[in-house]
Symmetry: C3
Subunit: 156 residues, 3 copies
């Protein structure tokens, strides 16, 4: 069985830089075997964020890409904090928020961009957690998607 780092390599995925906090918070906090990650946005490898509103400026596919990129940013934080993604034991839960119009209702299809990434890296059982997917009026610095998570980890 492959490790998460091996899967990442096989899929040819390059992680973006681990995001810096844009306020008074930590990117991740550890307690009792769990890692609580802060709300992450779709940070690209060039350091910019994917922005805009799904349902008007952007399609569901654009939203999916943003959710996947947000997942990559979360992975970057986890690797930075833990040294390696191999210390992530399972996905417990994610809360996925889509900046969208009032008539957009396909939030699960958007947040799947993150969920499918986590499944591909951590496996179809331990890589799939509980989840909520919802539509937000507005997100910080116009980010298209914001996702926070709880992960079971080997404590750093």
């Amino acid at each position: 069985m492959q490790t998460p780092e091996e899967r990442l390599k096989e899929l040819g995925i390059e992680l973006p830089p681990a995001p810096k906090a844009i306020g008074v918070y930590k990117s991740a906090v550890f307690h009792n075997g769990l890692c609580y990650t802060s709300g992450h946005g779709p940070l690209k490898n060039d350091g910019t964020l994917m922005t805009g509103v799904v349902g008007s400026e952007h399609t569901v596919e654009d939203g999916y890409e943003a959710a996947r990129q947000t997942g990559l940013a979360i992975l970057a934080t986890l690797r930075k904090e833990l040294g390696t993604l191999n210390k992530v034991k399972r996905v417990v839960k994610i809360f996925g928020m889509v900046q969208c119009t009032a008539d957009f209702k396909q939030h699960p299809a958007v947040i799947n961009g993150c969920s499918e990434l986590l499944r591909d890296i951590f496996g179809s059982d331990l890589g799939v957690g509980a989840r909520s997917a919802v539509g937000m009026l507005a997100l910080p610095v116009d980010m298209r998607v914001e996702i926070e998570g709880i992960f079971e980890v080997e404590m750093p």
Copy 2:
């Protein structure tokens, strides 16, 4: 003292079918004595969801009914995962989201539909947890209410 299953029976409550995931997630994940339930919607016994916007299409009472039905869907998931509701030890927390208009401000009265159900089944101490109740621009497949929770349980 009655068990949760006995209370449910006495109240004549029939649970809806446990909801199937509408994306890449699990309905519930267990860790260290806690059960994290995914965002659930107001799934009816006929398998359809209660939809629409509270504050325009729907009254606060319609919202209350949807929150109660969402609580029943959460109970269906808990029973499916644990075998019996008698293994639920307490409600730790729920996060209740109402799909509403910008001028609707009675979210607590809506989410009470779920909270009063949980109190009636699990008791006025252990059945009452921490809570947030908030107003959302949009929810998946137009569901009227979405609620996620954390429950203390006997691990399955």
Copy 3:
């Protein structure tokens, strides 16, 4: 090193009354070394709430003040439940929601009002947790900000 109660006194901060629940929930629930606080609003010392929409009726500074006041309300709950703030060991996570317009994007600057307060009371390491800051369409009784949190504590 000063205790949280000593810092509070030195900063001349007077806490508002601990908020009463406006629904069927508890202000805080304890489990396994963590305190889950319910969604709190910007409760003032006179018992009223700071209301209104950030981005139209209110500036980012007004939002910051409301987030700080919400943090004070959370501290009031923690002190009431624990007897003293000195039993709070660290901030694990907060979820900060701003009632705002669709084009308002400075949620981090608003929620810093709470985060900077917690940092000043509990210290620049243990007082800074994980965080999400987001924009909501509507909050209960028109409150300007709502924040829920998870704190590591000495169990009461």
